[in-house]
Symmetry: C2
Amino acid sequence: MAQRRPLAETRQLLVDAAIRVIARQGVASASTRAITAEARVPLSAFHYAFDSYDHLIDRVIESVTEGERAIAVAAVEIDSDVDADLETVVLRALDLYLDVLAAHPDQQQALLELMAYAQRTPGLEGRARDYYASSFALAEGALATRAGVEWTVPPAEIARLAIVLLDGLTTTWLADRDTEAARRTARLAAASLAGFAAQRVQV
Amino acid sequence: MAQRRPLAETRQLLVDAAIRVIARQGVASASTRAITAEARVPLSAFHYAFDSYDHLIDRVIESVTEGERAIAVAAVEIDSDVDADLETVVLRALDLYLDVLAAHPDQQQALLELMAYAQRTPGLEGRARDYYASSFALAEGALATRAGVEWTVPPAEIARLAIVLLDGLTTTWLADRDTEAARRTARLAAASLAGFAAQRVQV
DNA sequence: ATCCCTCTCGGTCGATCGTCCAGGTCGGTC
DNA sequence: GACCGACCTGGACGATCGACCGAGAGGGAT
């Protein structure tokens, strides 16, 4: 009767189940029992696979942020149409993100809740900072791939502004769910970011 | 032995205590027992003063958001130096906000956590939307007081962008606590917002 | 066949949660 | 002095939480 599974597989099963539960019902409702029920494994399997609840959450954060990073990298690579205007490219990226957000709002809300949980939990405090740091680096890398664009301010500052805008767009949309208004704001945001670029130089 | 107090006073005592506990330890730790202990009131007084836990949280959200609004109104009124450049005024307001944020980070974190809690709790879902709606209106009002400034896009859209920027600045700072970087980003944000103003007309 | 290590699972622990209630104390009104 | 309604409280309820234990099942190595 017993399901025999390699330990690593059970761990992945639990992490995935935890993400689904957190997305659907929030971190507060993601108890060990709710997660194991979602994963269809006995409650006792939880503490066999993980030393503690927070160890699981740590892995969950790792998994979610890695997923975010992969999506962002893919989006940047797809949207590297060098012939298009800079502002157009930025706006297209933001609109693409809003599509993802509107399609899977629970995912982004889960990420925010996890960050808040991490900041309140001893041993996980650094996770939020690390996530933003890697976001900055990713954005700066994306800026660097736009060959031939000079910036009037350091690219690192542009990258931070971009993340700030993305973050603000997210939290604001999550609160009022007004996609049309968010797209209008995205238009302004794209114009703002592009405004810090000097005219393109010939390559 | 019994402390005799008007009911309304006990209510206010509990609301204030709840805000302190939430700011210090987060919503998750703000149990009825933690709150009543903070308020130095017997546990049983809790359900004498409030029908339920969520009724208290509702009042807490009301109190916190009203406090935010009052601060914002005061800041706008103080910072209405008509002789200064628009970008300077905006930047000064943002820097002022960053001062408040750096001085009382728990307060802003508490607000964000309360919004997340409200969105997950039946009966409180609208609170987050209402808060952002009033923030937009407040920002738009602040823009309107700058007589003689014409905007190249509707003020309502500028107002939304301003709130998005403020929100992004907040969440980002709360994650990495890098005040210097936040001030640099604020500089870019102020320049962006001011960039949507047409040249000032003579009045 | 024997051993051993990995894996599984039901049951239960103590702590903490929000909520409730019966009874008690007070100040004011007849 | 009798009464009443507003105010206050200790103690308990059932539910749920993270964590833990010991007995057993399974499969490969010897």
